[in-house]
């Protein structure tokens, strides 16, 4: 399939290299529009967004509040559906899937890291990390191996039996990262991953994400922090639901 990094912006031209053009996009949005309708008002949260991500990229999405960052992340994570457009994930159209099929795609191909960690308070650290694997119907032995590996990877192996309430914010976010990577997803989506952390814990989490990226993970991260955004390989700026800049950083 012929793919391009098809970023249409109002202010800047797309940045492309020949090698990238030939590499297959992991994720591709074309003409994505998201309209929230109420009785009297139509709000265009996203308008005609074209966007593609290749394997191994770390894309930071930035923009002011209300620019559509979270809506875009929700669409990318199949938590929400677009009003118009095309969304190909690993070459497969995923926009018209049924809720059950979308749940399956989320479970198998997407890892989420949330701003407020979103660990389930009644489940232990181990059980939280295990949860998506359980939904996948993975055998217990395989689950155990993956959970242990993921927790070791984020340095939380020794806290497996703890409850989330017994951990610091930074530790909780590391557990959330372990949960996101345990299923070896195609892509990791992070929504302000340090937004609820102090600077020290924030740095540690960003360090962890950098390590994951170095290990080959594909990351899309929404952030307000320009310094964190610049840790990525690419920075996409949104304004009023449109991509206004797509800058290759490295």
């Amino acid at each position: 399939m012929m793919t391009v990094t098809a970023v249409q912006t109002q202010e800047t031209a797309p940045v492309e290299t020949p090698s990238m053009v030939q590499q297959k996009a992991l994720l591709q949005l074309e003409g994505i529009t998201k309209v929230f309708e109420t009785e009297e008002v139509e709000t265009h949260a996203l308008s005609d967004v074209h966007f593609a991500v290749r394997p191994g990229e770390w894309v930071s999405i930035v923009g002011p509040s209300g620019s559509g960052k979270t809506t875009l992340l929700a669409l990318l994570g199949l938590l929400d559906t677009a009003s118009k457009g095309t969304y190909l994930l690993d070459g497969r159209s995923v926009l018209d899937l049924s809720p059950a099929e979308r749940a399956l795609v989320r479970n198998q191909h997407i890892g989420f890291i949330f701003q407020s960690f979103n660990l389930i308070g009644d489940l232990s650290v181990y059980e939280n990390v295990e949860l998506p694997l359980t939904y996948r119907g993975m055998p217990a032995d395989e689950r155990r191996k993956r959970v242990e590996r993921a927790l070791e990877r984020v340095g939380m192996g020794h806290r497996a039996r703890h409850m989330p309430g017994q951990l610091s914010g930074g530790q909780q976010q590391r557990v959330a990262v372990a949960r996101a990577v345990a299923g070896d997803p195609l892509i990791l989506l992070a929504d302000e991953p340090t937004g609820n952390l102090d600077s020290k814990n924030g740095e540690q989490v960003m360090q962890l994400l950098s390590e994951l990226h170095k290990g080959g993970a594909t990351l899309i991260m929404v952030t307000h922090d320009p310094n964190q955004a610049r840790l990525g390989t690419r920075m996409v700026s949104l304004f009023d639901g449109r991509v206004v800049q797509d800058e290759r950083l490295r």
């Binding site: 929700a74 938590l79 929400d80 749940a103 989320r106 989420f112 979103n118």
Partner: protein
């Protein structure tokens, strides 16, 4: 007091502020407290309220018994001896029921009659509303015939004629002078039309010590004398009588019990079961309200913390919350009382015959006090858990709005309450299930005869109109033939007794076998019947033959026995052709074996376990006049009682214009009535079980809804992580079902223990019947699934994108 009023005012304001919560809680409590109040009014009326007689706590009921037959009526000569020799009672009085024909009037009538010793009414402290009591000289054989009228009969027959005293009524052909009218509110067992001295009983009962003519005795204890002392006193007399009259009294002794205990003996287990059932309903209702209060407590946490931070102590906070819950319970109790007033009317209208007529169901002071205490008790019960929890709030946590500890506690408390609710509901449902299974089994019992399309009634043939045996025989047989000839009538028959209506029992021996010890002869129900009795009543003959025209006076005396007698005394051989001695050691040849009848009523004990039949046509002349004066007729025909009865009356009018037919009833209604007590208890327990099921399913539903509401974010996270709808439904329903299953296990254990209390009410099925337990568990499991399903469906509608938007 000031602060209490302040708390009460604040509580009222809060209740008004949350009308939805208040309404739900008040309705729930009103149902629970109202049901308890209504049932307590029955328990109060039957078990607790003193009998409406003078110093009822001194009244003792006396009957006779032997080791083999512990409950027998009292022989008149024994009663006379007791009365003369006893030292424990201020007096003894005897009573028995009978029937006298009122004739010489436009419409002859057979009157329900109570024959009593002259001491009877004074012993109860009852004075006639008009006239006087019986005099001792009227209560001796050959004394002047006098009669007292019940108030109801006086009103019905004589329009409250105050000049009735001194007038004469022809009863059984003998003029009786009216000497008194009984008070309107006087009740003693079933109402009777007239009261006559015991001396109007047939003379032979005064002469035969071995005859126990359905007479019972009441005694009034002397002050300071206990029941035990009185028992010892009468038993000593009984032992002297045994020695003096070994033929009739060899093992007979008086049996004493307090009169009130005796009256309510059979009802006590049913009423206690009802009280337990309704208490369970209240507990379940209270649990639902506690759940509401816990949920509300969560919302009020901040208010309480502010109060605490302003200096309110723990006790003060607990008191405030208790005042609130007590107020809620009092309002619920008040509404419950209104419901109970209605419920008591319904219960009174549907009271079965088994409940003594002396018992009245009403909301009196005791019932009001019960409701008040119950409401306050429930109020404390409701408030204690939320109050204790709320009083332990962490100021820092709550003000920081984390509240983790409190919500975990509430979660556990809610779970525990649901488990308790399910356990209670299961116990109650198992109880109701066992009673239902018993009822269904009893209802399905083969009665041994066909009751459908049978009209029964009593006819009388007094000596005044049918003086000799021949006239009597002719009249009875002619009556049968005339009835049988009525168009639409397929059969008419007669007997001295009918199953489920009334019959006699007698002792017997097997010819050629060693005689049993005196007073220990086996006892059998005896039916003396027309020759077509078996065909007309639909009683199958299992072996041999029934009665035929050849079985007449002078031919070989014949008898048909039931299958129980045949199997017990002739195991492995045919009873037909064997011989049996009864009726004064006369020998009868067994010619047939009939199916055993459910004579005493489905599920009832059978004091006389055997049954046999003698042909009326073979009864010797000297006995015909004893047996034939009062017979029960059975007429099988189409159209029911309303259609048949006028034709039956018409047929009798032609033969005997003075005939006073009575006791008209269809056999179907007799069968129905025989289960009325059970139906009453089952209906109420069933109603409460359904109420418990509904309340507990509301409880599960509300807890699951609340839990889902609290866990909306968690559901979103799970769905974001790939949980499918099915996973979320499974999670929510599984949670509800898990709680229900724990409740089911606990409830099953509790039911296994508690249903033993139903032993006397459960028959034909074990109190641990696996089908009932299994069925109930499945039912509750199903209810838990349904009650969790709706919140689960709501949970899957959670938009997983909110996990991002909430950031």
């Amino acid at each position: 007091m000031d602060t209490f009023l302040q708390d009460a005012r604040f509580a009222l304001r809060l209740l008004r502020k949350s009308p939805g919560f208040t309404l739900a809680a008040v309705i729930t409590l009103a149902l629970g407290i109202g049901a308890n109040t209504a049932i307590f009014s029955v328990v109060n009326g039957v078990l607790l309220r003193p009998l409406p007689y003078q110093a009822p706590e001194q009244l003792v009921f006396i009957q006779e018994g032997t080791p083999s037959f512990p409950t027998m009526s009292v022989s008149i000569p024994d009663f006379i001896d007791w009365r003369a020799e006893q030292r424990s009672f201020t007096d003894l009085a005897a009573y028995r029921n009978g029937a006298f024909d009122l004739t010489g009037v436009d419409i002859p009538e057979r009157l329900g009659t109570r024959l009593v010793s002259a001491s009877f009414l004074p012993l109860l402290g009852v004075n006639p509303v008009l006239g006087r009591n019986f005099l001792p000289e009227e209560d001796v054989l050959g004394g002047p015939p006098v009669v007292m009228l019940s108030h109801g009969f006086w009103v019905r027959r004589f329009g409250q004629d105050r000049n009735i005293l001194g007038k004469s009524l022809t009863l059984n052909g003998v003029p009786h002078t009216v000497v008194g009218v009984l008070p309107e509110d006087f009740q003693f067992y079933t109402a009777q039309d007239i009261w006559v001295p015991l001396a109007r009983t047939e003379k032979r009962f005064f002469e035969q010590r071995g005859n126990h003519p359905g007479m019972y005795v009441l005694g009034r204890l002397k002050p300071g004398v206990t029941l035990e002392q009185a028992r010892a006193d009468l038993e000593a007399i009984g032992q002297r009588l045994q020695e003096a009259h070994p033929d009739s009294n060899s093992k007979v002794l008086p049996r004493l019990s307090m009169f009130h205990d005796r009256l309510v003996r059979d009802l006590r287990p049913s009423l206690l079961a009802l009280m337990a059932a309704v208490a369970f309903v209240l507990l379940i209702a209270a649990i639902n309200v506690v759940n509401l209060l816990l949920a509300r407590g969560a919302a009020r946490q901040r208010e309480l913390v502010i109060r605490a931070s302003l200096g309110a102590g723990r006790g003060r906070l607990i008191r405030q919350l208790l005042v609130e819950s007590a107020l809620l319970a009092l309002v619920g109790g008040g509404c419950g009382l209104v419901l109970a007033l209605w419920g008591v009317d319904v219960l009174a209208a549907s009271r079965p015959e088994g409940i003594p007529s002396t018992a009245t169901f009403s909301v009196d002071g005791k019932v009001l006090a019960f409701t008040l205490v119950l409401s306050l008790g429930v109020g404390v019960l409701l408030g204690i858990l939320p109050a204790l929890r709320a009083s332990q709030v962490s100021l820092v946590e709550t003000l920081k709005d984390t509240g983790a500890g409190a919500s975990r506690f509430r979660g556990r408390a809610r779970d525990a309450l649901v488990v308790a609710e399910v356990a209670l509901a299961l116990t109650l449902l198992v109880g109701a299930g066992l009673l239902t299974r018993t009822f269904v089994q009893l209802k399905g019992l083969d009665l041994g005869f066909r009751p459908e399309n049978v009209l029964t009634l009593r006819m009388s043939a007094p000596e005044s109109r049918f003086p000799g045996p021949e006239a009597l025989r002719n009249f009875i047989e002619q009556s049968r033939e005339r009835l049988q000839a009525i168009p639409g009538v397929s059969a008419a028959t007669y007997s001295n007794g009918m199953p489920l209506i009334g019959f006699s029992d007698t002792s017997f021996k097997i010819a050629g076998r060693p005689p049993p010890e005196k007073g220990e002869s086996p006892q059998s129900v005896i039916f003396i019947t027309a020759s077509n009795y078996f065909e007309a009543m639909g009683i199958p003959l299992l072996e041999g033959r029934g009665f035929g025209p050849g079985d007449r006076v002078g031919s070989t005396p014949v008898i048909v026995v039931d299958e129980v007698l045949a199997k017990r005394f002739f195991p492995g051989q045919s009873a037909v052709g064997q011989r049996l001695l009864t009726q004064g050691d006369r020998e009868f040849e067994i010619i047939g074996v009939a199916k055993h009848l459910i004579a005493y009523g489905p599920g009832e004990a059978e004091p006389a376990p055997f049954q046999f039949y003698l042909p009326f046509q073979q009864v010797p002349d000297e006995f015909v006049t004893q047996i034939g004066r009062s017979l029960t007729l059975a007429v099988r025909g189409e159209g029911g009682a309303d259609a048949l009865m006028p034709r039956v009356r018409e047929a009798f009018k032609a033969m005997d214009p003075d005939q006073a037919l009575s006791g008209v009833a269809t056999m179907d209604s007799v069968v129905e009535n025989s289960m009325a007590d059970r139906r009453f208890v089952l209906g109420l327990v069933g109603l409460f079980a359904v109420l418990a099921l509904v309340l507990s399913s509301i409880g599960i539903y509300s807890v699951m809804s609340y839990t889902v509401a609290l866990r909306t974010r968690e559901m979103g996270i799970r769905m974001a992580l790939g949980a499918r709808e099915m996973d979320v439904v499974r999670l929510v329903v599984g949670y509800g079902v898990r709680l229900a299953l724990i409740g089911v296990v606990i409830g099953a254990v509790a039911a296994g223990i508690l249903t033993r209390l139903l032993d006397s009410l459960v028959q034909g099925v074990g109190t641990t019947d696996p089908l009932t337990f299994g069925g109930t568990a499945v039912l509750l499991g199903g209810v838990a699934v349904l009650a969790s399903w709706v919140p689960a469906r709501r949970a899957v509608k959670v938009d997983p994108a909110q996990t991002l938007r909430a950031e």
